[in-house]
């Protein structure tokens, strides 16, 4: 492990790639029939939805019990950094922004949206499953009034379509040559010591002994490094 910093443990990497498989399956089974590619999509769709729900439940339990949920929060240091970056972008000079916590502000914003979107999709999707016969229950299409079902379908549809935009941008940043070490860490679990030193503030994501970094806080622990 010399020169390597653990960024994502195996359980978190498996969770990420399981979510990828479930979400791509859900999007394929939702949108391909709309685009004219007809097949028996509904059973694949709800089974993938249940896999997604189980994976998200696992992640929530793991995040609350074993990970530092503050790593996904936003603190004063982040706002100061945004201000400093904006000043420099427009040629106003001033102090340099600090190095980051475990997750970039953009990564935390993505996580916040994807968490909200997936929870919305899961809740509305489970509601919609009451209209299907499954091995667990018989369909009951009258569980909600017709007008309420329309709103449930409207929310499910628009959040699903928004995921097209969000996932396109996520994949773009994952495969950018200057960011691919993030993608590599989601495959192999580690980043190099050089990348750690170049991009992260040890006060905000401290590396402990044995080459492993702590779960990490983002902007909550301290002010930005000068």
């Amino acid at each position: 492990m010399q020169g390597r910093i653990v960024r994502h443990r195996l359980a978190d990497r498996l969770y990420h790639w399981l979510i990828v498989a479930a979400v791509l399956t859900l999007m394929g089974t939702a949108f391909l029939p709309i685009l004219g590619i007809k097949f028996e999509w509904d059973t694949i769709h709800w089974v993938a939805g249940l896999v997604l729900a189980a994976a998200v439940l696992f992640h929530v339990v793991r995040a609350l019990g074993w990970l530092d949920v503050r790593a996904m929060g936003v603190g004063r240091a982040d706002l100061v950094d945004v201000w400093r970056r904006a000043r420099r972008l427009f040629g106003r000079g001033g102090p340099a922004p600090g190095r980051g916590g475990k997750y970039l502000l953009a990564q935390r914003a993505y996580h916040a949206y994807i968490a909200l979107a997936l929870l919305t999709m899961i809740v509305t999707g489970i509601m919609m499953m009451t209209k299907l016969d499954t091995p667990f229950w018989q369909r009951n299409p009258y569980w909600l009034p017709v007008e309420s079902w329309g709103v449930v379908y409207l929310i499910h549809g628009y959040v699903a379509m928004s995921l097209i935009t969000v996932i396109m941008v996520h994949i773009y940043f994952a495969v950018r040559p200057d960011k691919w070490w993030y993608l590599r860490s989601m495959v192999v679990g580690w980043i190099s010591r050089g990348d750690y030193d170049a991009h992260f503030d040890p006060a905000r994501w401290p590396a402990t002994g044995e080459g492993e970094a702590a779960p990490g806080r983002s902007g909550l622990a301290s002010g930005p490094a000068e």
Partner: protein, 55 residues
């Protein structure tokens, strides 16, 4: 362009059925636009930094 699919109830009233799929391609267009804008922004900022860097 429709944003919402509507149906007529048995008493003639309009009822929301769900999202209109006409808008689906626009979400892909928005994603592509964000990507292109980011590529252009990175290029412009990179040129500016190279121009400002001392020889």
């Amino acid at each position: 362009m429709e944003f919402v699919r509507m149906s007529q109830g048995i008493y003639g009233q309009s009822t929301i059925v769900g999202a209109a799929w006409d808008v689906l391609p626009w979400f892909a267009v928005l994603g592509a636009a964000i990507i292109v804008l980011h590529i252009l922004a990175v290029d412009v900022i990179g040129r500016r930094k190279r121009g400002a860097a001392p020889e």
